[in-house]
Assembly symmetry: C2
């Protein structure tokens, strides 16, 4: 199984701490040796680092760990290949332009029969189920809306229905970004946490690293982190409800509405 | 004016030497301070590094200079902004999927009235003339061919005609890649050199660095480098003929046919 990591915040925030935990699972504390990738949104633009080599050994991963790239929206993935060989074009996150926006997706799971679905506008470059599913999701949104739609409950319900369709074909745990919103869907396993004032200390599970968020934040910061498995062992992570799309903006859960 | 750098080879080759020369022009020997980017193809996949900061100061640029990423096809760009503000989404190379292939383009020049042209499939994410022109070129190719066509003289003549149209709107010096082919077009200024056995020494213009290619190549290697201005001062660079598309594959000029 691959592992996912997403971040969404109301102020540009670096993800060095969480990424350091995740990347250990790509060759040290975990066996996800078949590549890794991370996408940072900066405004409407994206910056993606990826490698088909194990993350724990990658020089590019060292740069990302050490270099505090600040972003409000991050999507990341470490890969344990099951479908599609190990190569750069099969490395997540995948990226496409839709409505003049940069959309990215990282996925974990297998989707039986996904490649029988017809594609219209978007076509995979690599051979993974995941990229095919991403193309299909974008195709569906593009056929529904010719121009960039306002993101409302109606938009999210339709996206959720498409993700439910994928989920029925196997396992669909995924993170998606469009520059503003972070979308998270779990058919099996995904955890999230929102950090806000009063901030405290957090301790990584996969490496002996502790950070005191109080020292690096202001009282107004809201930062949500989503991961396949909790990254810290002294905080309360919440399981993402299965078959339910979660949408975050500026660190805050927008959908579903909390009762 | 921005500066372009492209490389096409028959064996995976690192571009550290040429990139070291180019990146000096982004803040040291030149004033192209408004960002830089470089795309490496690896198989069908691409890996892009970019930054809105001056290249000579960028930590990501340091990584690219030092880390020998080997590729048969590279497109790179350093930016001096004239249209479109300095931000990540306006940083070249731009990238889109067409026919399940990853297409990239870097451009220098301004194109008056480009934004009056109608776009169908591809839409710009940023605000540059360059990305708009790229979307228009891809639109034209996509409308001509529903599926990935064989690249022949006929294909290249039509692409050249589209580039001539752009050239008439201002200045269109550009490099484009599709995973296999490197396309170069100059309406003003672009130089190229093909290095093959017997290899010799080359000395950068912009930094005191000399490389002996004999030590890092085999007799079968063919490597073409294209740049806005020659990068070395002890080799013979050839000027790209204006309004003529040049197409390279495996380091060798495919189009126009040399008589």
């Amino acid at each position: 199984m691959c592992e996912l990591l997403g971040m969404n915040a109301n102020v540009p925030t670096d993800i060095c701490f969480s990424f350091t935990g995740l990347i250990q699972r790509s060759g040290v504390t975990g066996q996800h040796r078949d590549g890794w990738g991370i996408t940072f949104y900066e405004g409407k633009g994206v910056r993606t680092f990826k490698d088909a080599d194990p993350g724990a050994k990658s020089r590019v991963a060292r740069l990302v760990e050490d270099y505090p790239i600040k972003s409000c929206l991050v999507v990341s993935h470490i890969r344990k290949a099951n479908r599609g060989r190990v190569c750069l074009e099969n490395t997540h996150p995948f990226e496409r332009e839709l409505w003049g926006e940069s959309w990215t997706m990282a996925h974990n799971g297998q989707l039986k029969g996904i490649k029988t679905k017809r594609l219209q506008y978007y076509h995979p470059i690599g051979t993974t189920d995941s990229e095919y599913a991403f193309c299909w999701l974008l195709d569906r949104m593009r056929r529904r809306h010719r121009h960039s739609p306002v993101r409302t409950t109606n938009f999210w319900l339709k996206l959720q229905a498409d993700m439910n369709t994928l989920s029925h074909m196997g396992v669909f745990n995924a993170l998606m970004g469009d520059g503003q919103y972070l979308y998270a869907y779990s058919s099996k396993q995904l955890y999230w946490i929102t950090r806000r004032a009063p901030f405290g200390k957090a301790r990584l599970i996969d490496k002996e690293v502790t950070v005191d968020f109080k020292k690096v934040t202001t009282d107004k910061d809201v930062v949500t982190v989503i991961a396949t498995r909790p990254l810290t062992d002294n905080e309360q992570w919440t399981r993402v409800e299965r078959h339910q799309l979660y949408v975050f903006r500026r660190g805050v859960l927008m959908f579903p509405k909390i009762k």
